[in-house]
């Protein structure tokens, strides 16, 4: 039997029951739509995060206190005070770690900033001038904090765009006095709207010298992060190894399991983000896949009804020479056509809803969330839908093929 006529036959079979055919594919449509949305939004999220991480630069190596967190219980590790001035100096020494341009310390405090009656709670970052190169930021108005500020533990502050807006509105801020934890600071610089860099929203931070933060805001002598800038991307792996060896020697650690610090590179971050989004996407996809199975069972039900309704037609076809395979092929193709159409509709709806979701997320997240139409997902969706038709069509098609022609013709 010629394929063109097989397709035509199957199609006219479906057309005879347009309304029911549409209801039948609803389950498949919903399933494929859901999967398309999950994959598209998942890829959007991943690309967004990866872009931000990439903004850190491939030459950045981050040393944080406490061992590599492997679960929620390790959260407190970041409060470990294992990184101090001594460690910083050891890492700055080229005899210990080769290929490092500079080391930038950072401490983080959450504090209330106030300008007269306006108050806002933000992350106050205590750091050194070299952070500008790490985060690719600078003071667009005024100056950034300077080495002198650091040495003198000066009360100078550089404000992110949102923080400035919250405290001063549109009024000029440069040179004005603000209070942080009751201490008076002078606004020396302002950063233009920048958005997310790495895991930090630069617009929502205030930057002060780390010495000031340690002494007056936190009363500590350790750092929360040491940023290392490697001289090249190729040097990163050697820098990581040298950092580990240096700190272990300094802290008398023989067993890497007992490390009181950990090193993160952009590559590590990309990898772990990749794992997280993959796991999340897989989880959500499998939930959506359940609706595909339910849809498949729906297809099987309707196909069984259709086979029984068309018993006479099957009998007639057999009487005029159709072989069992011909009948089987006809109903299988019908099932695949049904789910295939469902798949296409699902892909179109999925793309549409993903696009709408991307628009909404761009509003909510406040950054340039990208709409991603995944060709792979579309092709996979169509394949999965067709396969479901094939799998769930086999039983009804066999039922049809095995009908005896005289019983089929006698059927009322």
């Amino acid at each position: 039997m010629y394929l063109r006529y097989t397709l035509k036959t199957a199609f006219s079979g479906l057309r005879r029951n347009t309304g029911r055919s549409l209801l039948t594919i609803l389950g498949i449509v919903i399933g494929i739509t859901a999967i398309m949305i999950v994959l598209s939004v998942g890829e959007g999220a991943e690309s967004l995060i990866l872009n931000q991480v990439s903004a850190l630069g491939a030459q950045t190596v981050i040393v944080e206190p406490g061992r590599q967190p492997s679960g929620p219980a390790d959260f407190a590790e970041i409060f470990t005070d294992s990184l101090k001035q001594r460690e910083r100096e050891a890492l700055e020494n080229p005899a210990n770690v080769r290929g490092v341009d500079f080391v930038v310390p950072e401490v983080i405090a959450v504090a209330a900033l106030s300008n007269e009656s306006e108050t806002t709670r933000v992350n106050v970052i205590g750091t050194a001038p070299d952070i500008q190169e790490i985060l690719a930021i600078s003071a667009n108005e005024g100056t950034f904090i300077t080495e002198d500020d650091v040495r003198q533990a000066a009360s100078s502050v550089v404000l992110g765009a949102t923080v400035k807006e919250d405290l001063f509105g549109s009024a000029p801020a440069l040179g004005k006095k603000i209070k942080i934890k009751g201490r008076t600071f002078r606004v020396v610089g302002l950063i233009d709207p920048t958005g997310q860099v790495g895991f930090l929203n630069v617009d929502e931070i205030a930057i002060i010298p780390y010495t000031t933060a340690q002494r007056y805001l936190l009363g500590i002598d350790h750092f929360n992060v040491l940023w290392l800038h490697a001289e090249s991307g190729e040097a990163v792996s050697r820098v990581v190894r040298d950092v580990e060896l240096t700190l272990r020697e300094l802290h008398d650690i023989d067993d890497p399991e007992k490390d009181d610090f950990h090193v993160v590179t952009q590559e590590d971050a990309i990898e772990s983000i990749g794992i997280i989004t993959t796991v999340l996407t897989a989880l959500l996809t499998s939930v959506a896949a359940i609706s595909l199975v339910v849809g498949g069972v729906g297809i099987m039900n309707i196909m069984l009804v259709s086979v029984s309704e068309r018993t006479r037609e099957i009998g007639l076809r057999k009487a005029v020479g159709a072989r069992n395979e011909d009948i089987m092929a006809q109903f299988l193709i019908e099932a695949v056509m049904l789910t295939g159409i469902g798949g296409i509709v699902g892909i179109v709806l999925g793309a549409l809803f993903s696009f709408i979701a991307a628009l909404i997320l761009a509003q909510v997240v406040g950054t340039d969330w990208e709409f991603i139409f995944s060709i792979t997902a579309a092709v996979a969706g169509l394949l999965v839908a067709s396969t479901i038709g094939l799998v769930f069509g086999i039983y009804p098609a066999r039922q049809a093929a095995q009908k005896s022609p005289i019983e089929a013709l006698r059927f009322e």
Partner: protein
């Protein structure tokens, strides 16, 4: 060699413990080019006989030779091939595909044949012409009268140019005028084109259009004789 040769043909239906002997040893033969009417009251076994002759149901005993070869020796695909190329069926209930044009209905057997696709349309058109329905060729069954539907069914049976046409009460659902038109076509196929026709009916009037009448009763052949005064459907006169 006879086209069809039956020897002691039996058919027993078993439903649980109950056995129904539909055919209890039927023997006769049909030569190529004959027009045979099989008559009998309902329950006589005439439909069962037609199903066996038409390869729609296997016999349970005796022997059925079709073109000299035993019917039980054919495999499933060979049986499909025989139904497709050597046999044509006309049913009482027409059995046309709904929402499918006359042309496509007539083309149906060709879909399952080895006839090359480019010849389908021409063959189907010719068959539709032969039953005088050229003006209805793009109509759907719902737009046709009963008589016209049955003519489409005859065209469908004809399209593969089969050895035998089986007609199972073809006039049963028709008024007498349409019925007569159907019998006229069947007679013409038999006379002019030499098609072998086996007609099942319970009406003597219809049966008398055939050249030979085999009466079946209780699963046995009651009588088998030639029609002496054959009816002509075209003139409604008796052929002397």
């Amino acid at each position: 060699m006879a086209l069809i040769e039956l020897t002691n043909l039996e058919k027993v239906y078993r439903q649980g413990e109950v056995e129904t002997r539909a055919l209890r040893g039927v023997s006769f033969s049909v030569e190529k080019g004959e027009f045979v009417a099989i008559m009998g009251p309902s329950g006589s076994g005439k439909s069962t006989l037609l199903h066996i002759l038409g390869f729609l149901d296997p016999p349970t005993g005796g022997e059925y030779l079709f073109q000299g070869r035993s019917a039980v020796s054919y495999g499933e695909d060979e049986i499909s091939h025989i139904r497709n190329r050597k046999l044509g069926f006309v049913f009482q209930a027409f059995n046309l595909l709904p929402r499918t044009t006359v042309l496509d209905n007539v083309m149906l057997p060709l879909l399952y044949s080895d006839v090359p696709e480019r010849e389908w349309k021409q063959k189907a058109t010719k068959a539709v012409e032969a039953v005088g329905l050229s003006h209805r060729i793009h109509h759907e069954p719902a737009q046709l009268s009963g008589g016209e539907k049955q003519r489409v069914a005859i065209a469908r049976a004809l399209v593969t140019d089969p050895e035998v046409i089986f007609a199972d009460e073809p006039t049963g659902n028709l008024d007498s005028k349409s019925g007569k038109a159907i019998m006229e076509i069947l007679q013409e196929l038999n006379d002019k084109q030499g098609h072998t026709i086996i007609l099942i009916t319970h009406e003597t009037y219809t049966a008398e259009h055939a050249g030979r009448i085999i009466r079946i009763k209780d699963g046995l052949v009651e009588s088998d004789r030639l029609v002496e005064e054959r009816r002509r459907a075209d003139t409604d006169s008796l052929l002397k």
